[in-house]
Symmetry: C2
C-alpha cells in the first residue's frame, strides 16, 4: 500500500499548541463581535462551480480546487469530451458564499443583517513562506444598512477586538486608514482623467507605498496618459500633511465630481469612531488608500500595525455585489480580518501569546498497580476535574523522563508516579 505521511502540498497539520492559540483567538473574535450584535453563520465548504466562476472573485477564480462530478454524470462528461468535469469547487473566499447565503435565507434573517463568518478557504496558489493553500478567513459584514452606522459598527467592533487580542502581547498601537472610492474617483476626474481610465489610474496609485510618487508618475506616463493630467493628479498627493482632513483634501475637487455628502459622511464616521478607540489606536483619513478589489463603491478601510508591512484587516462598502447574486439591490459593507496574519504576529511573541494546558496534573501509573489503587486514582481525578483542573491518567513509560518532558512542553505542571 502506498501511504503518504505528509499533508497535501501547501496545507498544514495543526499541533496542539497551534490549536490552543487558534481556539483562544477564535473565542475572542466570537465574543467581541457578539457584543456588537453580529451573528455567526456557516456555509458548506463547497459551492456550485457556476457561482465560483461568476467573475466576482478576480484572480482567485484561477486558483479553484475543483470537485469532480461522480458516477454516471462524470461518465457522461468524460464521454462527451471537453466538458466541465467538476460540478463543485472549494470556496476561495467567504464573500461569494455570503452572497449566495443571503439570497437563499434573507427571509429568515433580520434586516440589517450583521454576519460573522470564520472558516477555511482554499486557493491552489504557489505555496510560499506563511502562505498556505488552506487558510482561515474571518469576515464580518453588514447587509442591508445603507447608512454609515454600518461602517462605524464595523470599525469600532474590529478595533475593540484587535485591542483585546494584542493586549496579550503588550501591543496597544495600530492605525486604521480610511478613504472613499468616490473621493478616489473624483480626484482622478478633477485631474483630467476620463471615467474609463479610473481603474487603471487607481492600480498605479495603489503602489504608492512601494514605488512612491515618482514611480507612479513614470507608470502613468508609460501608460500613455497626458502629462497635464498626471501632473495635476500627483500634485494632489504631493506634500500631503499627516492627518490632513478629508475636507482639506477635497476642497479643490469640483462639486460636479464629488457630492458634499461624501465628505460629510467621512467626517461623521471619523467623529463617531474616534471617541470609541482605545489608547494607542488611531484612525486617519488616508487619500492614498485604494484597496485592490474592484467591487468597492464607498468608504474603504484597512488596519496596519508598526513593524509589519502587511495590513491585518481590510474592507469597505460594496453596494453592488450582493444584488448581482440575489437579483435584488442590497447595500453591504464588510471587514475581512487577516486571521493567519494575526496568528503570525502572535507567534512572533510566542513567549507571551502561547496557550498552555493550565494547572495540569498527570498520574503516571506503574504496570503493577492494583484495581483498588486504580479506583482511588480515578476518584481523586474526578474530584480534581470537578474543581476545574486538567487531569490525565496514563501508564508510566520506561522512559518516564521523556514522557514527562513532552507533557511539560504542553503545559502540564504536576506529575504523580503511582506504584502499588
Amino acid at each position: 500500500m502506498k501511504f503518504i505521511k505528509t499533508p497535501v502540498k501547501g496545507m498544514c497539520d495543526m499541533l496542539p499548541s497551534d490549536m490552543r492559540l487558534r481556539e483562544h483567538i477564535f473565542a475572542m473574535i466570537r465574543e467581541t463581535y457578539a457584543t456588537y450584535g453580529f451573528m455567526q453563520i456557516e456555509t458548506p465548504v463547497m459551492e456550485h462551480i457556476e457561482n465560483l466562476t461568476s467573475k466576482q472573485g478576480g484572480d482567485n477564480e484561477k486558483l479553484i480546487f475543483k470537485v469532480m462530478k461522480r458516477g454516471a454524470e462524470l461518465q457522461r462528461a468524460l464521454d462527451a469530451g471537453k466538458q466541465e468535469l467538476a460540478d463543485n469547487g472549494l470556496r476561495y473566499d467567504l464573500t461569494v458564499p455570503l452572497s449566495r447565503y443571503y439570497a437563499n435565507n434573507k427571509e429568515k434573517l433580520p434586516s440589517p443583517f450583521k454576519a460573522l463568518q470564520m472558516g477555511s478557504v482554499w486557493r491552489a496558489d504557489n505555496p510560499q513562506k506563511g502562505r498556505f493553500r488552506q487558510f482561515t478567513q474571518c469576515d464580518i459584514d453588514i447587509l442591508g444598512d445603507e447608512t454609515n452606522l454600518a461602517e462605524i459598527e464595523l470599525i469600532t467592533a474590529t478595533s475593540a477586538m484587535l485591542t483585546k487580542i494584542f493586549a496579550e502581547i503588550d501591543i496597544t498601537d495600530f492605525t486604521i486608514h480610511i478613504n472613499d472610492r468616490k473621493i478616489l474617483r473624483a480626484a482622478a476626474l478633477q485631474a483630467g482623467f476620463q471615467e474609463e481610465d479610473i481603474t487603471s489610474v487607481l492600480i498605479s496609485l495603489d503602489k504608492f507605498d512601494k514605488i512612491g510618487l515618482q514611480g507612479i508618475r513614470s507608470e502613468l506616463l508609460e501608460n500613455g496618459y497626458a502629462a497635464s493630467a498626471v501632473d495635476a493628479y500627483l500634485s494632489m498627493y504631493e506634500n500631503l500633511q499627516e492627518g490632513i482632513s478629508c475636507a482639506d483634501f477635497c476642497k479643490e475637487i469640483s462639486e460636479e465630481y464629488l457630492e458634499a455628502s461624501v465628505v460629510e459622511n467621512m467626517d461623521e464616521i471619523l467623529a463617531c469612531v474616534k471617541p470609541m478607540l482605545a489608547d494607542g489606536v488611531k484612525i486617519v483619513f488616508d487619500p492614498t488608500l485604494v484597496r485592490g478589489m474592484g467591487y468597492y463603491t464607498g468608504p474603504i478601510f484597512e488596519i496596519s500595525i508598526d513593524g509589519y508591512s502587511f495590513s491585518i484587516a481590510g474592507g469597505g462598502r460594496y453596494d453592488e455585489m450582493i444584488g448581482k447574486f440575489s437579483g435584488q439591490d442590497v447595500s453591504a459593507s464588510g471587514f475581512s480580518i487577516g486571521f493567519e496574519r494575526i496568528i503570525t504576529i502572535l507567534k512572533d511573541h510566542m513567549d507571551k501569546a502561547g496557550q498552555s494546558v493550565q494547572n495540569g496534573t498527570v498520574f503516571l501509573l506503574d504496570k503493577k498497580v492494583s484495581l483498588e489503587r486504580k479506583q482511588e486514582i480515578f476518584a481523586k481525578a474526578k474530584q480534581l476535574r470537578a474543581e476545574g483542573n486538567v487531569v490525565s491518567i496514563q501508564p508510566m513509560r520506561k522512559n518516564v523522563k521523556r514522557q514527562i518532558e513532552m507533557l511539560e512542553a504542553e503545559g502540564f505542571q504536576k506529575f504523580e508516579k503511582i506504584y502499588e
Copy 2:
C-alpha cells in the same frame, strides 16, 4: 450569469440559531475533554487520494468527493486517458487523517497522545432526512496506551460530557454498552465456527436488535453453516439475563479460545468506570454488541439513549490500524461522538436547548438623528458593551414592526427608537 441560490446538494446553510446551538455544544465538548487532558488537533480537509483509497475506510471509500488535478498535471492525465484525474479527496472520516497525522508528527507529541478532533467530513451519499453530505464528526482517541486506562478515560470523559450536555434538556439517563472483540471471536470458535467464518458470523449477530435470534438463526443456516454450530452459538445468546456479568457469559468458553486476562480486563474497566458515572447513567456488559467496522481488536463500546433508535457515540480499541499507516505498531483506542445526532436530540427539545442572544439591546436610529446624538448613542453602547451586554446600532426601517420581530426571534429583548 447563471447563479444558484441553494447550497450544493445534500449540504446545509447554518442559520444564526443553528450556529449558536452548535458553538455552545462545541464549547462544552472542548472544555470537558480538556479537563481529561485531551488535546485538540486539526488536519487539512483534503487528503492524498492514495491515503483515502487504502482500504481502511470500508464502503466510505466509494463516497469520496475527489479533488481534480490542476494545470499541466491534469492535462497530462486527460491526454493519457483512463488515468486518475484526482490527486486529492475530501476526508470521509477523521480516523484516516489521524493515522497520517500521527505518523507525520509523532516526535512532537506526548506518548500516550490523547487527541480531540472536531471537524467536517464529506460523503457523496444519497441525501436522506437527517443525513447530509457534509457533517461534523467529533472523535477522541488515545494513541500509544496499550492498557485499559485508555478505555476508562475515554468512557468516563465521554459520559461526563454527555451528562453535561443532556442536563440542559433534563435528560439524565443513558446506557453505555461494552463488549470485547476477543470475546465475540471466542464465542464463535467455541460454538464450532472456523476462524475464517467469524467476520460473516458477526455480521449476522450485529442484526440482533433488528431481526432477533430467530432471524440470525435463519441467516446463518442460509449462509450454509452447520446446524450444530448455529445451535451451540445461539444458545449462548438465548435467555441472556439483563446485567449478566462478563465472567458468567464467558464461563462456558474454553481457555483455548479466550485468555482469562480478557475477562479481567473487562471487569477492571467496569469496576473503574461505574463509580465515576452520574446518576442515571449505566454501563452494561452487552455480549451482543458487535459494531460494524472491521478494524476493532479489543474492547468495543456504544452509547444509547431511551427513545432514539440510533447510538449517540461508539468506539473501541483498534491496535492494528495506525501501524498500517505509520509502519510502526501503535496501540489505539477511540470514541466517535455522533455530533449531528446529539444536535438532532437537542433540537427535539428546542424549547429548552435553544441558544438566544442574551440581554440584547438594539438602538434603532431615525434618519434625521444628528451627529451629536449619534455620538451619544455610540458612547452609551460602548458602556453597555463593556458591561458584557450585546448592543446593536442600526437604522430604523419603515417597517419597524417587522424589523423588531426578526430581532426578537434571535433573542434581542430591548429596543430603543432614537429620534432627533
